[in-house]
Amino acid sequence: MPTRAMTGRCTALLVFAVVLCSFAAGAHGSELFVSNEVDDTVTVLDGDSYKVIATIPTDQRPRGIIETADHRTVLVCDGDSSNIDVIDTKTLKVVRKINTGPDPETLAMSVSGDRIYVSNENNALVTVIDFATGKWITQIPVGIEPEGLAVRRDGRTVVVVSEETSMAHFIDTGTWKVVANVLVDTRPRVVVYTPDQRYLWASSEVGGTVSVIDPGSHQVVHVINFDIPGVDQQYIGPVGVQFTPDGRTAFVALGRSNRVAVVNARSYDVERYILVGQRPWQLAFSPDRSKLYVANGLTNDVTIIDVSSQKAVKSVPVGRLPWGIAVVP
């Protein structure tokens, strides 16, 4: 792969050049940024070799992690420190901190990239922050323990799920009002728009299901159940959800059942369960969508799934209690 080839050539050169090349490698090869909730670090993995490139210290309890559209920065929520660490993807250093208010758990960028939406888990709020200035635009009261966020592609709606209230709240970004609330199964964690924006999928960790919501009528139109032979139903805790770009297939991380489900997103049939590490949490695709990365909270590793064969290829160690993954091409 280009990254490795370049680095290989670099080793023959002067130290100064090596440093330059490794920066270049950071810019050209893909990298995985994994938030480690217990270690207070972000592990950076090389997207080809899956070797650890860097371990970046963050503030306390890093969880929600995303990359910006320009790939220049990765943002991670530090729940116990009330801020976002902004990581420069070239220097692999925290270059800025953005105050979020108490207990930020996850975050999402607006479509235009100028605003950050943060769920404040302890305060039942969504905080809207201007990315350039770090100023708060508004705070929106939602249900208790807000967590996953989804932004509609037209930018007009932000959806947040609240764990304790077990609802998806629809926020109008023009008025910052909650315009609809949809009751889903118990303790929803993640909410994602389907690629065609026609539905929202909300995973319920304790309910053990994924609710498919029609964002037009604000009704749950289907509930996806999981049934793994030999595994107690109570261990099936859906969390991370990712769709293939064609919208045909969804991958759903199933928490303590240690599996990722492959779901036919048209028929809602579960086609396969892929055994991964323990307590798979959030999921992320490689830039070319050929690999799916799984953060395994209890085994402190990331499982790499080959998307076409739907098989787990290998698992690589990261820090303690990996929570989420951002992939930078």
Binding site: I144, E145, T165, L183, V206, Q234
Partner: protein, 410 residues
């Protein structure tokens, strides 16, 4: 003190509203478009005499214990209710010490079936459950742990939120067996509850392959450490009480009333850990628990009540949360309808245990993982991995269907 009489206003309002809430309202409730529908929950408690002086100054008995949990739970279900068009009201009724519960029930429940969260001890709970005045009502027992209420004395109108004594003994037993600490010295206090728990410990040993290698009763009042010579007395008494011929791995103490158990750690004759009702305990909740979003609950409760959340507070919170779920997710409002929902496979409540909690149909006990904890730290959570069950692994704790002595009148 606990003795806070309910205001006449609340007494007037209580229970009036259930009759007015009918299923026809559910459609509008779901959209949240109409004015919120009120739903009453009666919180019934009794001003029991205080526990007296606790062995440790660090132990407290807050006057609002249990109630604060139920009030916090009411605020939380009202957050959901705000979005769905429901407003839950908690009507607090405090019976005076020594009150006859059946008689009080006749006075209180004059308007038909109610939903009652009972913060009562076992004898009072039974009286309430059997009272003619609460016929058709639904009682959520947020306080008791007594096996008898889940066995011969079970009642069709009572659902138990906290784990039974047998579930606690099994939870500890699984942990000890997992650690291969299987030789137990059982030290039993003087009360009938101690005898029940001791029997549970023997049952657990039999179920999981542990052995009671020594058993002894302790019925001496250890007195108070408060006196200047208290430490010396305890330091003499406890080794004496725990000097047994056989070698054992752990001392299993059955002291349900906190008479002497807390004096045992580091005072045993042999260098052995103490587990049971003191030392390493089994509980549904401790203020130290922070996994599975329990941390957020501890924060919220602390903000609400300005103190730590006890197991009884958790019982109150969970009982009210169950009512909220039945009304808003189960879409049922009558006590009979709620009972059917709680017994159905549609019901599932989250209680910070990483899995949904449901009721066992055979004794209406909430099935739940149980914490294994010492005062400052949660050590483990049972069922332990490797303890299997053909249906639900949490049914390895307590009385499973084939063993139940509960015969519920349907």
């Amino acid at each position: 003190m606990m003795a806070r009489r309910a205001t006449p206003v609340s007494r007037l309002l209580a229970l009036v509203l259930l009759a007015g809430v009918s299923k026809s309202f559910m459609a509008t409730a779901a959209t949240g478009s109409a004015a919120p529908h009120s739903f009453p929950i009666v919180y019934l408690r009794k001003a029991y005499p205080g526990p007296g002086i606790m062995p440790s100054l660090l132990e407290t008995s807050p006057a609002d214990e249990g109630l604060a949990g139920a009030e916090d739970g009411t605020a939380e279900i009202n957050t959901t209710g705000k979005f769905l068009g429901w407003n839950f009201k908690l009507y607090v009724e405090t019976l005076p010490a020594g009150a006859d519960v059946a008689e009080e029930a006749r006075r209180l429940f004059t308007r038909g079936p109610a939903v009652i969260v009972a913060d009562l001890r076992a004898p009072d709970l039974l009286q309430l459950a059997d009272a003619q005045a609460v016929k058709g009502s639904l009682i959520l027992d947020m306080r008791t742990t007594d096996d008898s209420l889940r066995q011969q004395q079970c009642r069709a109108n009572v659902f138990h939120v906290l784990p039974s004594q047998a579930m606690r003994a099994d939870a500890l037993a699984q942990f000890l067996v997992e650690k291969r600490w299987t030789r137990w010295f059982l030290l039993q206090g003087p009360t009938p509850a101690d005898a029940v728990y001791a029997a549970d410990v023997r049952r657990s040993a039999g179920r999981y392959g542990a052995r009671i290698v020594a058993a002894r009763s302790y019925d001496y009042n250890p007195g108070s450490r408060r006196s200047d010579t208290g430490y010396q007395q305890i330091q003499t008494q406890m080794p004496l009480a725990t000097q047994v011929g056989s070698d054992y791995d752990v001392l299993f103490v059955a002291d349900e009333t906190d008479l002497f158990g807390d004096y045992l750690p580091y005072n045993t004759f042999d260098a052995r850990p103490v587990v049971g009702t003191q030392g390493l305990i089994a509980a549904a909740w401790t203020p130290a628990f922070q996994s599975y979003s329990a941390l957020q609950m501890q924060h919220r409760f602390n903000e609400f009540a300005h103190r730590q959340m006890t197991e009884r507070d958790y019982g109150g919170w969970l009982a009210v949360s169950i009512v909220g779920d039945a009304v808003m997710r189960g879409r049922t409002v009558s006590p009979a309808g709620i009972r059917a929902y709680l017994r159905s496979d549609r019901f599932l409540i989250a209680g910070f245990k990483g899995q949904g909690l449901t009721f066992r149909a055979w004794d209406q006990q909430l099935r739940q993982p149980v914490l294994i904890a010492q005062p400052l730290m949660v050590i483990s959570m049972s069922p332990q991995s490797g303890f299997l069950h053909p249906g639900n692994t949490t049914d390895t704790l307590g009385f499973d269907q084939p063993e139940t002595q509960c015969r519920l009148a349907q």
